[in-house]
């Protein structure tokens, strides 16, 4: 399984990358960690004429811990930060251990040392962990394109399986992740049969009783991660009837088997956010 021929350009700056992408008129792909793109190229599922390599753009590895903008305290991760760096705690974490746990469950160590959070988000595999986790965390995608820089809430970033709002010429340069408010409990329940496998259902939950907030995201559902907007589900522990209704109105009840998994993961996540010691679990 060898790729179709392609040319390769190592961009030194974001502008150079954007320029190369624009010039290629849609026939180029960005390569970051190559862990998702490598198999696709080997299988000839994609056959770009050019790979624009952003690995050499130093700024994309930066982690800004002091992002205290109008939206509240946050950490901005350059798109080239690897899953392993997050797993190992070598970069700051404002999520009380949620992000490191998510990272640890991605594929295998040898993939995580190379794969990047940005690359994973742009690949937009519906079963990809970061899509669901970052949606749960209400992250923002920072994009540089021919028209300049823009910020897109991650909830609007995914357009279904393997589809994002990125236009030809766009480059994801960073992900801004709000710090979790103190006292926030979280759950990230991933249903898969073997470690590292793509999940059949992922449910993420955040709950902060003091602030009266909760957030539920259902991922690995075949399309973009879905935010379930019904606090009533968690009002008295876990309400499976309301949960099922919410999944149905989100269009996630087509396959009875998958529906069962989503419900089971929601129930487990609900238990976790009601019993977790705030401050995170490892």
């Amino acid at each position: 399984m060898k790729p179709a021929p392609f040319d390769w350009l190592q961009a030194r700056t974001v502008d150079e990358a954007v320029g190369a992408l624009v010039a290629a008129e849609g026939d180029a792909l960005v390569v970051a960690g190559s862990q998702s793109l490598g198999p696709m190229l080997n299988l000839r599922l994609v056959q770009p004429s050019l790979l624009v390599d952003i690995r050499g753009i130093e700024g994309l590895l930066a982690v800004d811990e002091a992002d205290d903008g109008a939206a509240g305290p946050a950490i901005t991760y350059g798109s080239l930060v690897t899953h392993a760096a997050i797993e190992d705690g070598r970069v700051a974490d404002g999520t009380n251990g949620l992000m490191p746990q998510v990272a640890r469950g991605i594929a295998y160590r040898a993939i995580r040392t190379c794969g990047t959070i940005g690359g994973s988000v742009c690949h937009a595999d519906p079963a990809g962990d970061w899509g669901t986790a970052l949606t749960l965390l209400s992250a923002t995608a920072l994009i540089e394109g021919p028209a300049g820089r823009r910020a897109v809430p991650i909830e609007g970033f995914f357009l279904g399986p393997f589809g994002t709002v990125l236009a030809p010429g766009d480059l994801l340069v960073g992900l801004r992740v709000p710090r979790l408010p103190p006292g926030t409990r979280w759950a990230y329940e991933k249903c898969c049969r073997k470690p590292g496998e793509f999940a059949e259902s992922i449910v993420g939950m955040l709950r902060n009783e003091a602030q009266g907030t909760c957030r539920i995201v259902v991922g690995a559902n075949g399309g973009a991660p879905v935010v379930i907007d019904d606090r009533g589900i968690l009002r008295d522990g876990f309400d499976p009837v309301r949960a099922r209704a919410a999944l149905a109105s989100a269009g996630l009840d087509g396959d009875p088997y998958l529906l069962k998994l989503h419900l089971a993961m929601m129930q487990r996540a609900a238990l976790e956010v009601s019993t977790q010691v705030p401050g995170g679990r490892r």
Partner: protein
């Protein structure tokens, strides 16, 4: 069109002109004749091709050689004198951790990473960390025992140098 690449392979400086689509596994195997690194799936799942890239385990099959300019690659051949690898080899034999030998190089690279990175790993953790290395012959029992035995031996000893020479 080929591109120049200069990298370190097993401590030796290597220069080559490579097609961008040439993956690192094919590069070390066919261009450098380092055939310890095996190819099993070419999509990153089986782990047979696992090498060290800048000291960390990586899949040679889905990393492209042209992108390794300035990087340090170490294959099993370059770890023959590595102290942890010496122990692992003895443990693999003592615990019958290989049969056909095809998955073994990638398995050893991952095993070494477990020993160095997770000195407190218990059996359950070892198994999780091995999820990315498939073996069709052994059922993993000997491999897990071998890694556990090296971990246990190291716990009861003063630390040793672990950088590959």
């Amino acid at each position: 069109m080929k591109h120049p690449v200069r990298l370190q392979v097993n401590g030796r400086a290597v220069e080559a002109q490579v097609e961008p689509r040439l993956n690192l596994a094919d590069f070390v195997r066919d261009h450098l004749h380092l055939t310890a690194t095996h190819v099993g799936c070419e999509h990153g799942v089986c782990g047979a091709c696992t090498v060290l890239l800048d000291g960390a385990p990586a899949r040679a099959c889905i990393n492209f050689a042209v992108r390794c300019d300035g990087r340090d690659v170490r294959t099993l051949e370059g770890l023959s004198c590595d102290p942890v690898m010496v122990r692992l080899r003895a443990a693999f034999t003592a615990e019958h951790a290989l049969q056909c030998g095809y998955c073994t190089p990638g398995m050893l690279i991952t095993a070494r990473d477990i020993v160095l990175r997770l000195p407190d790993a218990d059996e359950a953790r070892i198994r999780v960390e091995l999820a990315g290395n498939l073996c069709r012959c052994t059922g993993y029992a000997g491999i897990v025992r071998a890694i556990a035995s090296v971990l246990e031996a190291r716990l009861s000893e003063p630390s040793e140098p672990s950088e590959p020479r």
